[in-house]
C-alpha cells in the first residue's frame, strides 16, 4: 500500500487526525496529528497566556494547511525565525514546527510526502507549559530533545512501519511554497 493510501486509511479509521482548515481557507497541505497532539490542541484551557499561546500555535498550523509561504531551516541548530527546522541528527528526518512567542512550544514532526506532515508530539521549549505534560526541551543536547526525537520515530514506526519519511536536502521534496532561511 502506498504511503498516501496508508495515511488516508489511518485518518478514515481515526487512528490519525487531520487538522481541519478554517472554512474558506484552501487546503493545500495536510497536517496529520497523533491523538496526543489533537488532544493538546483541543483540550479546554482557561483564558490567559497559555490559551493565547496555543491559539498562536493553532493559527500557525492552519497557515501551514492553507499553503502559506514557509521559511524552513535545513541545518540543525541554525534556525532563527524559520517556521520549520530540521533537527539533529539529519538522518533521523525529524523536524520541528516552531512557534517563537514565549513560552515557545515545538511540534515534532516528519514528512510523510510532499506537503503532508506527521505531527507526533508537542513539547515546551524553555519553560513548562501547563497544557503539555512534558519537561521543557532546554539545551540543544538535553535528554528532552532526544526523547522528543525518539518519540517521533517511535510513533512513526507504529503508523508507517513499511515506509520511510521524506529525507534529503531538496526542499521541494518536502514542501511547496517554501524557502530556505
Amino acid at each position: 500500500m502506498s504511503i498516501r493510501a496508508e495515511w488516508q486509511r489511518l485518518v478514515a479509521q481515526q487512528e490519525l487526525f487531520r487538522l481541519p482548515e478554517l472554512q474558506g481557507d484552501p487546503r493545500v497541505r495536510t497536517v496529520l496529528m497523533t491523538r496526543e497532539v489533537q488532544d493538546d490542541l483541543t483540550k479546554e484551557l482557561p483564558e490567559g497566556p497559555e490559551a493565547n499561546r496555543r491559539s498562536r500555535l493553532l493559527a500557525r498550523l492552519h497557515g501551514i494547511v492553507a499553503g502559506r509561504h514557509l521559511v524552513v531551516c535545513l541545518i540543525p541548530f541554525e534556525a532563527r525565525k524559520a517556521v520549520i527546522g530540521r533537527l539533529d541528527r539529519i538522518e533521523d528526518a525529524v523536524w520541528d514546527i516552531r512557534c517563537q512567542d514565549s513560552p515557545a512550544v515545538r511540534i515534532f514532526c516528519r514528512f510523510v510526502e510532499r506537503d503532508v506532515l506527521f505531527a507526533a508530539t508537542c513539547r515546551p521549549r524553555s519553560v513548562s507549559v501547563s497544557w503539555l505534560d512534558y519537561l521543557p526541551l532546554g539545551d540543544r543536547n538535553s535528554k528532552e530533545w532526544k526523547k522528543g526525537i525518539e518519540a517521533t520515530k517511535r510513533q512513526w514506526g507504529m503508523f508507517f512501519p513499511a515506509h520511510d519519511p521524506v529525507n534529503g536536502d531538496d526542499l521541494d521534496e518536502y514542501l511547496s511554497s517554501a524557502t530556505i532561511e
Binding site: A51, S55, R68
Partner: protein, 133 residues
C-alpha cells in the same frame, strides 16, 4: 460548519451586543493576520526576485539595513503598518488595497485555483519592466 469552527466563532457570530470575544480567539486572528500578511509580502518579493530584486537592493531603496530586511522577510512577525508600506513600495511600487471579508459563513475554497489567485493578486510584471515599456 465544523464543530471546531463553530466553537471558534460563536462569540464573534453573536453580533455587536454579544458577549466579549475571548482574548485567546482574538489572539488566534491576530496570528492569522500576521501569517497572511507575511505570505502576501513574501510572495511579492519572490516574484520580483525573478526580475533581479535582492534583499540588498530592497534595503537600499527603502533606507533600511539589510539585517532589517532579512528579519522582516524571515517569517511572520508583528510588522508595523509603516514597515508594510515601505516593503510594498520598495518591492514593486505598490500600496495596500483595503478590503475585509467576514470570517463567518465563508464558502469552502477551491484549492485548485489557489496558484492562479496568488499570481493574479501578486502581479507578474516588475515595476522596472513596466517603466521600460
Amino acid at each position: 460548519m465544523s464543530t471546531f469552527q463553530a466553537q471558534l466563532l460563536n462569540e464573534i457570530a453573536a453580533g455587536h451586543d454579544g458577549p466579549p470575544i475571548p482574548e485567546s480567539k482574538r489572539v488566534y486572528f491576530q496570528e492569522r493576520y500576521r501569517e497572511r500578511l507575511f505570505d502576501f509580502i513574501i510572495t511579492r518579493f519572490n516574484i520580483q526576485k525573478q526580475f533581479g530584486l535582492t534583499k540588498a537592493k530592497l534595503a537600499r531603496r527603502i533606507g533600511r539595513s539589510p539585517e532589517t530586511i532579512t528579519r522582516w522577510l524571515s517569517g511572520p512577525s508583528n510588522l508595523e503598518s509603516d514597515s508594510v508600506s515601505e516593503l510594498l513600495l520598495g518591492i514593486n511600487a505598490e500600496e495596500m488595497d483595503m478590503d475585509a471579508h467576514s470570517v463567518l459563513d465563508r464558502a469552502p475554497a477551491n484549492v485548485y485555483r489557489l496558484s492562479e489567485r496568488r499570481l493574479e493578486s501578486a502581479g507578474t510584471t516588475s515595476f522596472s519592466h513596466r517603466v521600460a515599456r
